[in-house]
Symmetry: C2
Subunit: 303 residues, 2 copies
């Protein structure tokens, strides 16, 4: 039976996150007991796919895990959210990506320590290329530079639109940028393209690579977007009492893809993304409070 | 066949430690990629027992683990060091103690985030009491207050000497102190017993609980000891280029127990302990570089 839901293929990071609340960030050489601990899957692409799955899309994860308990947990976490993991590649001698995230209890501010693990790059074979070819969207985070480039090239050849979640502009990212249709990047990424705090200048620079929409996300300070028609707009972040902001950016991307899949205007799409990200902050962990579609609609009516 | 090696029973924390080098401690709300990651067992009592096992003693671990991969790893790590884990208790619904430790690459300075996990207290039954009764020493860290008190009471009744590794003086610690023969505590613990920086005043206060030796360890600043005959002495820390100081205190306790088991003088015992701790700093992780007896002897000849 063909799946009639919109289908997003994501290629990128899937991580195992260990999060703990702390009373306050410790002085160096001090010992801090965590107030509580939450463990769950994370990673920019993986969590964006979970958001899409909760919103009612079909999502397929392409990525690499190690042959370790974290890898098992990563897979189980995605499968529990109905993300298709058939093409997840396990490196038999590899170690999975993981992160430790200390969250300050009163403020929700975080320190993130992460490792990409030790594993071979993702291998893009015939089955993976066929899956991308039949998808409605390809979502990338660019960390696995060779595989990201191959996947984006495949998508471009088959007319499948692409989004890049840019956190840090690395060596291979520049080669990837001309293959990206929708570029949604962090403030840190944008700063690598302009001097100082000038979101509009960054949008201008980033648009020159050819994407039809470019958005720079600035956390609680909102986001700046430039569309294909040249108009630029600002979307404030919704004001919420954040328990934990882990994964907000990832969920924003999930919402953005959802809007694009439904051919919404960019303004509607970005406002929807901001609502998804705001709702996510309701609980500890990057995925716990990712909303379903009804919750986002209710939130948007009230805000 | 009876085991003729000196036998130390330890009751206390056994943890799974995840350690990562960082270039420098991150600003709040920043993301830091770890330069490398080491995972291994830790915990004050568990690592002291590993030190004793490497030095050639028989060591038995009494403690609790959760029913999770960390618990499995904790057990495997101890068994690989020949620490007897037959009386380790697994809480079927419990979560193991674990820690994340960020180590600054150039300085070896650390931030330790830890959780005691969620598990039932240790149950001291007939077999556990018999094991303590036949031991040459009981080593405690006092975190599990009820079990520590019961174990120390049992040891006192049977004439088995006791050592407490005091990191933080908690509510239940005060009740435990009169049952301790050798009190080897951190600077932080000692500060709870005197105003400001006065190790000799702290030794005086701590001795009043009845221990025949009291030592306050001050990391790279050395240690202060007061013996049963009232004499007080200072042992400087050996000057080493530390890769990682995780577990130094635990290994110091292992060395101290080794000296006491061999009826060495307190001065010889503490110097030996300081050498064990210094050698431990040669590698990342609380246990990697714990020395065997020949290494300590060579080091002491050279220093």
């Amino acid at each position: 039976m063909p799946n009639s839901l919109p289908h997003v293929v994501g290629l990128g990071q899937c991580s195992w996150d260990i999060l703990g609340h702390i009373e306050q960030f410790p002085a160096v050489d001090a010992k801090t007991e965590l107030l509580d601990v939450v463990e769950q899957g994370g990673g920019p692409v993986a969590t964006a796919l979970v958001a899409l799955a909760r919103l009612g899309c079909h999502a397929t994860m392409l990525g690499t895990i190690g042959n370790d308990p974290y890898g098992e947990s990563i897979t189980q976490g995605l499968e529990a959210e109905s993300v298709d993991c058939k093409l997840l590649q396990k490196d038999p001698r590899g170690k999975s990506q993981c992160a430790f995230i200390a969250v300050e209890a009163d403020t929700g501010r975080r320190n993130i320590f992460w490792t990409r693990g030790e594993k071979r790059p993702f291998v893009l074979g015939a089955e993976e290329k066929a899956t991308i070819s039949h998808a409605d969207f390809l979502h990338l985070d660019g960390l696995d530079e060779a595989a990201s480039y191959q996947a984006a090239t495949c998508a471009r050849e088959r007319g499948v639109p692409t989004m890049l979640d840019g956190g840090t502009c690395r060596d291979g990212t520049m080669r990837l940028l001309p293959l990206i249709d929708h570029l949604v990047v962090s403030e840190k990424f944008a700063r690598q393209f302009c001097d100082g705090d000038n979101p509009e200048a960054a949008l201008e620079q980033l648009s020159s690579f050819g994407a039809s929409s470019v958005t720079v996300t600035c956390g609680a300070d909102g986001s700046w977007t430039k569309g294909g028609n040249g108009t630029t707009f600002f979307q404030p972040a919704f004001s919420v009492k954040a328990i934990d902001t882990t994964g907000c950016g990832d969920v924003f991307h999930g919402g953005y893809l959802f809007g694009l899949l439904h051919n919404w205007s960019l303004k509607k799409t970005v406002r929807f993304s901001a609502a998804c990200a705001a709702l996510k902050t309701r609980a500890m962990g990057g995925r716990t409070a990712i909303p379903v579609i009804g919750e986002v609609e209710d939130f948007l009516k009230r805000n």
